[in-house]
């Protein structure tokens, strides 16, 4: 296949067979309980230097509590697949956890922009869809996939994509390398102790992100019985054998919203935006991350039951978010 142009961006060389071997030796087919605390899950499954990805973002059904745990454990040198993000990369970058990001898109963030401008965080340019499409290739066990966007732009030039001559039609077509994450974080509505998990609502890339990763940590609002899973198998988004850890984290996306369950804590979110733009993320992390032991501890000490009830009452639209 004739390569017409190559992006100069840094990417990890796809290794489909290496991934298969990892799956063969590391992923449990046994139906065993994977329930553990967020501390245990992050200690066990997030390593310094890992390539990290996640579904959605900290403002809506994202794994926000797991981000805080990663910061609390001072993980280092992560390469983060950032697409359709909110201030989640800002939290991880402010915590000193990140050395490189893939740029699909990040929300206007003082922390992210400054880290890139100062060269503390390196970037490879893609687009939102290109990042999750690369995860789709990874989830299919393929080394690459062709796509009808990205080509022609300077994003292409600073990505890891290639423009080739399609051997079937002779037309130009862009290819992107598969992305198999080291570790993926996905926050779900319900799952059983083995990891059979349900997501309701529009999802960004729950299937691709869960499936392409070597290690998958699920955090869940609710743990339900395996019997409940078997009664409505059509609702299972993620089957257990993809999952390495199940962490029961009610309000796990706080201060973001979990559609149908609870709304956004606007006060906390404003505090975070002010810290991000005002350069006071250290104080924010001290209060919300280092100053508490866990998500439950944070909710009890800093948020309180009255606020949580208020957030639940706010979320008046329930249709579609219940089994």
């Amino acid at each position: 296949m004739e390569v017409l142009a190559s992006g100069s961006g840094v990417y990890r060389t796809p290794d489909p067979d290496g991934h298969r071997e990892w799956v063969r030796t590391h992923k449990a087919r046994e139906m065993k309980s994977k329930v553990m605390t967020e501390k245990e899950a992050v200690e066990k499954f997030v390593s310094d230097g890992d390539y990290l990805g996640y579904d959605l973002n900290m403002h809506k059904r994202g794994p926000t509590a797991l981000f805080r745990e990663i910061v609390r454990q001072k993980k280092k040198d992560l390469w983060v697949a950032v697409r359709f993000s909110g201030l989640d990369p800002a939290i991880l970058i402010a915590g000193g956890c990140v050395s490189r990001i893939d740029v699909g898109w990040f929300i206007q963030s003082g922390t992210c922009s400054k880290a890139i401008e100062e060269g503390k965080v390196k970037t490879t340019e893609w687009s939102n869809s290109a990042v999750v499409y690369r995860q789709l290739a990874g989830a299919m066990g393929l080394p690459f996939l062709p796509l009808r966007y990205l080509g022609g732009s300077d994003a292409f030039k600073h990505s890891g994509a290639k423009l080739v001559k399609d051997p079937f039609t002779g037309q130009e077509i862009c290819l992107v390398p598969a992305l198999n994450l080291d570790v993926a974080l996905v926050h779900v509505y319900q799952c059983d102790e083995y990891g059979n998990a349900r997501i309701f609502g529009a999802g960004l890339s729950p299937m691709e992100t869960s499936t392409c990763a070597k290690k998958l940590i699920i955090s869940t609002e609710e743990i339900i019985s395996n019997e409940a899973i078997r009664r409505q198998p059509g609702l299972t988004t993620i089957p257990y054998y993809l999952v390495d850890a199940v962490v029961h984290l009610p309000f796990g996306t706080y201060p973001g919203c979990m559609p149908g369950l609870y709304g956004t804590d606007a006060g906390h979110t404003a505090e975070l935006f002010i810290a991000d733009h005002g350069g006071t993320m250290d104080a924010y992390l001290e209060k919300w991350v280092y100053g508490v032991e866990s998500n439950a501890d944070m909710l009890e000490k800093l948020v309180g039951a009255n606020k949580l009830v208020e957030l639940m009452k706010m979320e008046t639209i329930k249709e579609g978010y219940q089994a």
Binding site: L56, N57, K60, F84, V103, G104, W105, F106, I107, C112, S113, I116, E117, G119, K122, T123, E125, W126, S127, N128, S129, A130, V132, Y133, L136, L147, R148, Y149, L150, G151, G152, S153, D154, A155, F156, H158, L163, Q171, E172, C174, F200, G201, A202, G203, L204, S205, P206, M207, E208, G256, C257, P259, G260, G263, T264, E315, I317, E319, G320, Y321
Partner: protein, 269 residues
């Protein structure tokens, strides 16, 4: 009693974009802010059956109008959708040609309709001011049949060439430049709407072409606030100003707190 009405430049931009939106077409709109505000405005006023998707996979919802401001972070944005899918599914359907129009806003747009949303100043490795990146705009601008781009009308918003093409317009303007980059045939930027004018693109040269000017300004004034000289249509049209019905919906339903519509200078017309 005066028959004049007052509105902001932003309100005019939103209404002028809404007026381009056609009933029974499919739109892929940027997930929050002005593009979605214009679409919901068009739905409320003249195009009740217009279909739209956003990149998180929400297929043509009927949300409360005020979610347009930050719809990516709200469950309400997906209310009463036809389907809840995912980002790649939106990409597949766009690649197949189902989405007639994309609507985007941008940091900068150049004479060939190329969009920058990545950085200004310096170079890629050492940007002076870094912004959020291509986001979902690259796929929208690449694969929708026609792309509508919204921008404030300022010189720095209309550079001759953008410093970085985050999302493709007609690239260098050469024939089949998009096809040679692997993009689908017959696609590209269709209109650029600013708070002062509406532009199209010349079929031959692919250069931006001034089509219509707001009634309180002139073509000369429009071009003074651009870093390049656009082509000018033989007969210039006048952009319709907002109607009272549009303003009532914008202010009463879509942006009652004035977080976006209050931006820009006030016009009395």
């Amino acid at each position: 009693m005066s028959n004049k009405i007052n509105f902001t430049e932003t309100e005019h931009l939103l209404c002028a974009t809404a007026n381009l939106i056609e009933e029974n077409k499919a739109y892929w709109v940027a997930i929050g802010g002005p593009p979605l505000m214009s679409l919901l405005l068009a739905r409320a006023v003249h195009a009740p059956n217009v279909f739209y998707v956003v990149e998180d996979g929400t297929v043509s919802p009927q949300p409360p109008a005020y979610v347009a401001f930050l719809s990516g972070a709200s469950g309400s944005a997906s209310y009463r959708a036809l389907a809840w899918k995912d980002m790649n599914t939106m990409g597949f359907h766009c690649a197949l040609g189902y989405y007639d129009y994309g609507i985007l806003d941008c940091l900068q747009v150049d004479m060939y309709g190329n969009i920058n949303s990545s950085f200004v100043g310096g170079d890629y490795e050492h940007p002076k001011r870094r912004f959020g990146g291509p986001g979902g705009a690259n796929e929208i601008a690449s694969m929708c049949w026609r792309t509508i781009i919204m921008t404030e009308h300022e010189k720095r918003k209309f550079p001759k060439r953008v410093e970085f093409i985050s999302s493709p317009g007609y690239l260098d303007g050469s024939p089949q430049a998009r096809e040679r980059a692997g993009l689908p045939r017959g696609t590209g930027p269709y209109r650029v709407v600013s708070d002062k004018a509406i532009f199209g693109f010349d079929e031959e040269t692919r250069r931006m072409k001034l089509l219509a000017v707001a009634p309180w300004t002139t073509a000369d004034e429009v071009m003074q606030d651009m870093d390049f000289e656009p082509l000018v249509a033989e007969s210039l049209e006048t952009v319709s100003p907002p109607t009272e019905e549009q303003l009532a919906i914008l202010r009463g339903q879509i942006d009652p707190e004035g977080r976006i519509v209050a931006q820009g200078k006030w016009i009395e017309f």
